[in-house]
Symmetry: C2
Subunit: 565 residues, 2 copies
């Protein structure tokens, strides 16, 4: 039964590679950005949080250039968006820029499930990767506690007399847990008699799907955090009045639980580039980017900041730009679209098992997916570079086919080898990005705030997904009108759609046209400040696979945690 | 809706008093115990964890004297066990001893519920109290995650084919959450169709009731931690075979989640005495003391260590001595029993509302409760001192009545004013304790390991509770025999009984005799290493009161968290 002493460390594993470098003391990392010692709250020698006072003092500083790393629609072949963000950040540092990267923090669900952690891989990792992939500085646990405190207050309120006349059938506020646990998706609670409250249906989402997470990532200060939490709609009364979270009288306690978690975390890449790793909202029912606090701080401290958005550019980049940049007043200077020959081949019709054989024609076909994402980004006024992450099996002809396919768009294709080589593998990409960010900004949003909600959804569907039209359910249409009547018409929309396709059908790879986007349900995230449009079944609590990653994680006799990736 | 800027800080609150002192840098606190800088993993300027390597190196050091602080049966009048532990530690430091205190870490449940935090009060507090009362160093969150990972693995195992043939009706492993949330006590999970697993009954305990918490507090090293987690019994197969946690193949991941949490935390009292605050198991279905790792480390580093046990001495001290000291090889040198005139009056029959009026006769009557606890402790061979925490309304005659009542036992009664005055208020108690710990040890356990389980329960009931007999349910008798047949006969017993009385009836105050202790159910905690005997209804998930403490907690504009106590 004792696994601990029995297994050796795999020297090719991400954990072993990460451990092969000696991290800089976090104070030295902070010094690269002129962060003074007293502004850094340390969690051990290699992690820190920036004080809110220090961040407030950055307000009037000039801001650096912001580079967004996004990707083609993901496939099982893998793209390497996080490694590209890290590799590009390191390559910019190597080129003499004062650079920083901004990333999301990992959830324990994928760490123990199928996907693994979120700290990059190979020579392009953020460290200490064991800490970051497990509890890190406790931010996600704090969000779990704050979210579930509100849940407990809701049922407690009903138990003690329900003065607000909450309709137990219309409580929208579920509970959360930072694990993949399918058995909690749908539950009944309050069973067992009067002492245990009133029975009702409920369910658990994974913590990163909590609106509290989205709010933590969009608020620009403690006061805004509190105001957004207060505004959240947790359900309705019997008379169908929307009930705000503040009515449960626990917002102060929630802010207290979130105070430390709200401070951006500072760590480093394997090459010592400062890395802000803070927040990680779901990329479907939320906007999928690291916190505004981290990005704004990084921009005030560095000349160039590389960040990533969730999923492919159709979802992640669009939401980064239309939600996060809009709310935070950010104007990115360039975008990098990540692709691989293997993934492009899959978009070109090659199955996963067939990826071993060279297939130039399939690459060329699959480039339609890449080209559409590039075109979409130019609709936001962003200059674009393509990062082609190199795999050993890629042939020169296949690589050439990508450059050729994109020639007409005036976009450079940069072969990247940061996974194997670190910063030296992303030098070409870094040079291109340094040139792009010097161009005068022409950044613009896809739609204006004052456009009606349904029309915003249609704009994203037509302009980005290239859908022929949107098919709203009658319930969705009615709810959108309700939201507008209640004063939420100026919010941006947050599209919840499969990440695997431009359409709502995960099997429709590459660049489909003529499709219809079904919007069966819309939800209000009044605190986060967006209206979620659900196109298809969206899972907010993943399950574990039959062989979970947890099985291969173990602690070695010296305390080293092996098996994380 | 915005509470944050609206409320002033109450200068008489524990939070304000704690904030009135400037804490020492944690490195200076560590230096008092000759803990080198490299052995301390820092969480900000005022909290740290001791490295496991350093602790391993302490193994051969001579050990200091261990003093247990315990109490009469608690009443709504309050006793002040934690403040006495802190005040005594400070007074011993003031007297020139190299002293440390060992305490449990607070759970968020009581912090937001009715009881408040667990960091003492007045001038006898551990700091930084805001941090300790909220997430501290994340230990309890880590336990929640490790516990619930195992829960998810169990349902995942059933979902993917149930190769172990787990009987879903006999899963003993519930889920946990570190909040008071009565609606989660009894739930049904896995609803909603095949994708969500098999529906079954389940429930949530508060995290501090998790066997993982008990194990974290009893294990003496990482290897022991892993072995204990592996041994836990999580349920039965259809063929009634006990299934061990290790069979779910997630122990390595659980240890990885617990690695940092397993390191003892170091903080300080308001007077700068080193305080180890680590672990906090429930005091009914578990043993209710801080971790063995913390106590053993403190004893290797300090000349005298003051620690406390949960509830009154009948439950807390007995389990501290028969479970923790037995498993960890500890031999305490003295015990302090805490009482107040007000609480003794309640044991003497005065209701809470009548406590304002002096009543010497009631005090004398109530001293029967105190005397019995003192006598019980001498059965363990421990020299005893009584700490009488002074309230402003106590009359000299009432105080004198306590001394008089105890005169026959040869035990000193020491009036304490550390709540109001800090260490100077506990000087008399400290002098007495310094004398007691110099006596040659006559410490012994109440019962030997090789006594049959039922007889161990009877021994505690007769010797400590003064019950006439134990009434075992037939199920309990059968299960005890089952445990013995399975090789668990040598385990100590962990009594789960109301803390308010020597009997199983919470209303039976003072010193009842002739009662029968009903043991309706017994449970095996195979990893923690004890057999739990349940006498009466034991709540493992508290509920929130109608006006939860959460309502009064808020963050001030400068980030100060007010409303904690």
């Amino acid at each position: 039964m004792h696994q601990r002493t029995a297994r050796p460390l795999d020297p090719a594993s991400d954990a072993a590679i990460a451990a092969s470098v000696t991290p800089l003391p976090i104070g030295e990392v902070a010094a690269k950005l002129a962060i003074p010692a007293e502004a850094l709250y340390r969690y051990g020698p290699h992690k820190g949080k920036l004080s809110l006072d220090f961040i407030a003092d950055l307000e009037d500083r000039p801001r650096g250039r912001l580079v967004l790393v996004t990707a083609i629609n993901p496939t099982p072949a893998g793209e390497g968006k996080t490694t590209t963000t890290i590799g590009l950040g390191d390559a910019l540092s190597r080129a003499g820029m004062k650079a920083a990267v901004c990333l999301r923090e990992p959830s324990l669900g994928p760490v123990f499930g199928a996907k693994g952690g979120a700290t990059g891989g190979g020579r392009a990792q953020i460290i200490p990767m064991q800490d970051i992939n497990l509890h890190f500085t406790g931010d996600i646990h704090a969000i779990t506690a704050a979210h579930n405190l509100l849940s407990a207050l809701i049922d407690n309120h009903i138990h003690w007399g329900n003065a607000l006349d909450l309709d137990a059938r219309r409580i929208a506020w579920r509970r959360v847990m930072d694990l993949n646990d399918r058995a909690l998706r749908q539950v009944t609670i309050g069973l067992g008699g009067p002492a245990n409250g009133f029975p009702r249906e409920d369910g658990f989402d994974i913590t990163v799907a909590s609106e509290v997470m989205a709010i933590l990532c969009l608020a620009d200060g403690l006061e805004d955090l509190e105001a957004r939490l207060s505004r959240m709609v947790i359900g309705q009364t019997r008379g169908r009045r929307m009930v705000r979270a503040a009515e449960l009288e626990g917002i102060g306690a929630m802010v207290a639980l979130l105070r430390d978690a709200f401070q951006p975390n500072l760590v480093q890449t394997m090459e010592g580039t400062p890395a802000f790793v803070h927040g990680g909202p779901f990329a479907n029912i939320a906007h999928g980017c690291n916190s505004v606090m981290a990005t704004r701080s990084a921009l005030a401290l560095a000349d160039v900041v590389v960040t990533e958005a969730g999923f492919g550019a159709d979802l992640g980049a669009e939401k980064f730009l239309d939600i996060k940049c809009r709310q935070a007043g950010l104007a990115p200077s360039a975008a990098v679209v990540v692709a691989t020959v293997r993934a492009l081949k899959m978009h070109g019709g090659v199955p996963l098992k067939g990826l071993g054989a060279p297939d130039v024609a399939a690459v060329t076909r699959g480039c339609e997916n890449l080209k559409r994402h590039v075109e979409n980004l130019t609709k936001f006024g962003l200059p674009v570079a393509v990062a082609l992450n190199h795999f050993t099996g890629d042939t020169p002809e296949e690589v050439a086919a990508v450059a050729e396919a994109l020639a007409g768009l005036g976009v450079g294709v940069h072969v990247c080898r940061h996974w194997a080589n670190g910063s030296s593998g992303a030098e070409d990409l870094a040079r291109a990005v340094m040139e792009l960010v010097e161009r005068p900004s022409t950044f613009r949003f896809l739609y204006p705030e004052d456009m009606p909600l349904a029309q915003k959804i249609e704009t994203v569907a037509r302009q980005i997904y290239r859908a022929e039209r949107v098919d709203f359910s009658s319930a969705a249409t009615a709810r959108l009108k309700e939201f507008e009547a209640a004063g939420f018409g100026a919010l941006p929309v947050c599209m919840a759609k499969t990440q695997y396709s431009f359409t709502a059908d995960p099997a429709a790879r590459n660049a489909p046209t003529g499709h219809v986007l079904p919007v069966r349900e819309v939800r209000l995230s009044a605190g986060a400040g967006f209206v979620v449009a659900l196109a298809g079944d969206i899972m907010t609590m993943p399950g574990l696979p039959s062989v979970p990653a947890a099985r291969d994680i173990f602690v070695m006799p010296d305390g080293f945690i092996a098996g994380l990736s």
